[in-house]
């Protein structure tokens, strides 16, 4: 029989420490839905998504019931819609977004990602139309998430796209100003976007993916914090790393199990496990709390970047042994509004945007769920994207920007999104103008790091 303590530990991780599988995301290719007739295009997209994902939610619910593993979100990612739009010049991208929204509602998933364009080296047919339609599409749908990849280590940064995205983020916030500017919270701008990321809002099903795949995103910052409290009291940082590795291993094994069972039950290949520590606004389910447990008074102070680097690396080392198929973003997320500890630090003023930018050099993504003043100029948003993309490009890692301009609000106010998206105080932004730099456009050439062959 299995060790009693192991069984109790697992049950407590789930019941008391918010351990869960954050998302089971079905990736669906829409490449075979292309059609030059807009109505036929939408019909094919709807039919394919519903056919493939019909049983996704019930299968996940039965896994939760039998295996005791909570699966918080069931989601879908699709081929970047710009690729499908390319063959249909008369299609209105917003109509395609509404089709995705209807399909998501029909199968019961809470988000569908892939209203996306990959423009890191330039624009092809469909890309600019899709990007221009993002604000309207996000305002007129509930479940649709959008993302744009504007740079990569291999190709450099497309600064024309960067210049385009600042105004798009502002417009997405403006069109949803009466709903906490939610549109901007469903839009991610990436550098080095992974093609198999199961997490929203940046999930899309890349062109190199199979027709359909199941990708799993694990979570568990609460379980990591608790393990540090129980097993690493007084330990030095090598001991801390060891404890995190062991916990990450267990968390990831759970994700691997869920992915294998779900894939088998749905008749779909199991793609990857994304080894991520994804916080929620629930008390105790916080990456900031893990950093505090290591000995920091508050996230955002000196030592934060080092502690986060240790955490991010130990999560990967523990997780990679536990799963044969690792992918996605894999690392610790640091979204401000979705993490109670980050929110508190931002409200106290101990966590600044500048520190967050430094943290993105060592965590798995980037500036995430950060509320900025409503009058932040579009070119400042673009420059923020450029800086993040530069960190990603040079360090061969994914970086991203998901900032929400709080229209009509300023520092001292806050936006409350509710649910897993949480709430965030408006954080001050350095508004020294980058307008001249952004207006130059063109491309930042691929760095020397790209020349690996």
């Amino acid at each position: 029989m299995i060790n009693t303590n192991d069984i109790i530990e697992t049950i407590r991780m789930i019941t008391d420490e918010n351990l869960d599988v954050r998302t089971v995301t079905m990736g669906i290719s829409l490449l075979d839905c292309a059609d030059s007739d807009p109505a036929a295009l939408c019909r094919k997209i709807y039919e394919k998504i519903v056919r493939r994902a019909k049983y996704l939610v019930p299968v996940c619910e039965s896994i939760t019931a039998e295996y005791g593993i909570p699966i918080v979100n069931k989601r879908i990612s699709v081929t970047p819609v710009a690729m499908v739009l390319a063959g249909c010049p008369t299609a209105n991208p917003v109509d395609v977004a509404k089709t995705l929204d209807r399909a998501a509602a029909e199968v019961g998933v809470n988000f569908i990602g892939g209203f996306s364009a990959l423009v890191h080296k330039g624009f092809s047919a469909g890309d600019e139309r899709l990007i221009a339609a993002i604000p309207e599409a996000l305002a007129q749908t509930d479940a649709v998430c959008a993302s744009v990849n504007i740079g990569s280590t291999k190709s450099g940064i497309n600064m024309d796209a960067v210049a385009m995205m600042g105004p798009v983020i502002r417009r997405a916030a403006e069109l949803t100003a009466d709903d906490n500017c939610l549109g901007a919270a469903k839009l991610v701008v990436f550098c080095n976007a992974p093609e198999d990321n199961p997490f929203m809002a940046g999930a899309f099903h890349g062109p190199g993916e199979p027709d359909c795949a199941i990708n799993v995103g694990v979570s568990g910052p609460g379980a990591v914090r608790s393990a540090l409290e129980k097993h690493a009291k007084g330990a030095n940082l090598s001991g801390v790393a060891e404890t995190i590795k062991k916990t990450a291993f267990k968390i990831t094994r759970m994700g691997q199990l869920v992915g294998e069972i779900a894939g088998k039950a749905l008749g779909v290949p199991f793609g990857i496990v994304d080894l991520s520590l994804a916080p929620t606004p629930a008390v105790g389910d916080s990456v900031a709390a893990v950093l505090k447990e290591m000995g920091l008074e508050s996230v955002g102070g000196y030592g934060t970047t080092a502690a986060l680097a240790l955490l991010n690396d130990a999560v990967k080392k523990g997780g990679v042994m536990a799963s044969g198929l690792v992918g996605g973003l894999s690392g610790a997320f640091i979204p401000v509004s979705e993490d109670a500890g980050m929110i508190a630090a931002a409200e106290r003023g101990t966590l600044s945007l500048e520190k967050l930018e430094a943290m993105t050099a060592v965590c798995s993504v980037g500036l995430d769920m950060i509320v900025v003043p409503g009058d932040t100029p579009a070119e400042v948003l673009s420059a923020m994207i450029a800086d993040e993309a530069a960190i990603g490009m040079i360090n061969s890692k994914t970086t991203a920007v998901r900032v929400i301009p709080a229209i009509g609000k300023t520092v001292g106010d806050r936006l409350d999104f509710g649910g897993l998206l949480g709430y965030g105080p408006v954080m001050p932004v350095n508004t020294a103008s980058p307008a001249g730099f952004i207006a130059r456009g063109g491309r930042i050439p691929a760095p020397i790091q790209a020349l690996k062959n």
């Binding site: 029989m1 299995i2 060790n3 009693t4 303590n5 192991d6 069984i7 109790i8 697992t10 049950i11 019941t15 019931a65 039998e66 295996y67 005791g68 593993i69 267990k250 094994r253 759970m254 691997q256 199990l257």
Partner: protein, 89 residues
């Protein structure tokens, strides 16, 4: 199908009787039982086998949950695969 039942809470008379009665009535065989006081909490763990073609997982789960409420204890039933995955290499 092998599953693990856990019962946690304050120790009292009749815990084993209650849970094992539910199992017996539904044809669920108890393969092993251990009980312990862990960190001040009473914890009983049963390894059980659900009969092929017998009671469904969600039904036995509901019955055990109801039994747990009557005892004022937390009762879970989980397929053994979960623990194997997390704790065995």
């Amino acid at each position: 199908m092998k599953a693990v039942i856990t019962v946690m809470g304050t120790d009292k008379v009749g815990i084993l009787a209650k849970i094992s009665t539910i199992c017996a009535q539904q044809g669920v065989n108890i393969d092993e039982v251990t009980q312990n006081i862990l960190g001040g909490t009473f914890a009983m763990i049963m390894l059980v086998t659900l009969p092929e073609g017998g009671i469904g997982f969600s039904d036995i789960s509901a019955l055990l949950r109801q039994g747990g409420e009557e005892l004022d204890m937390q009762v879970t039933i989980t397929r053994q695969d979960t623990f194997d995955a997390m704790h065995r290499i």
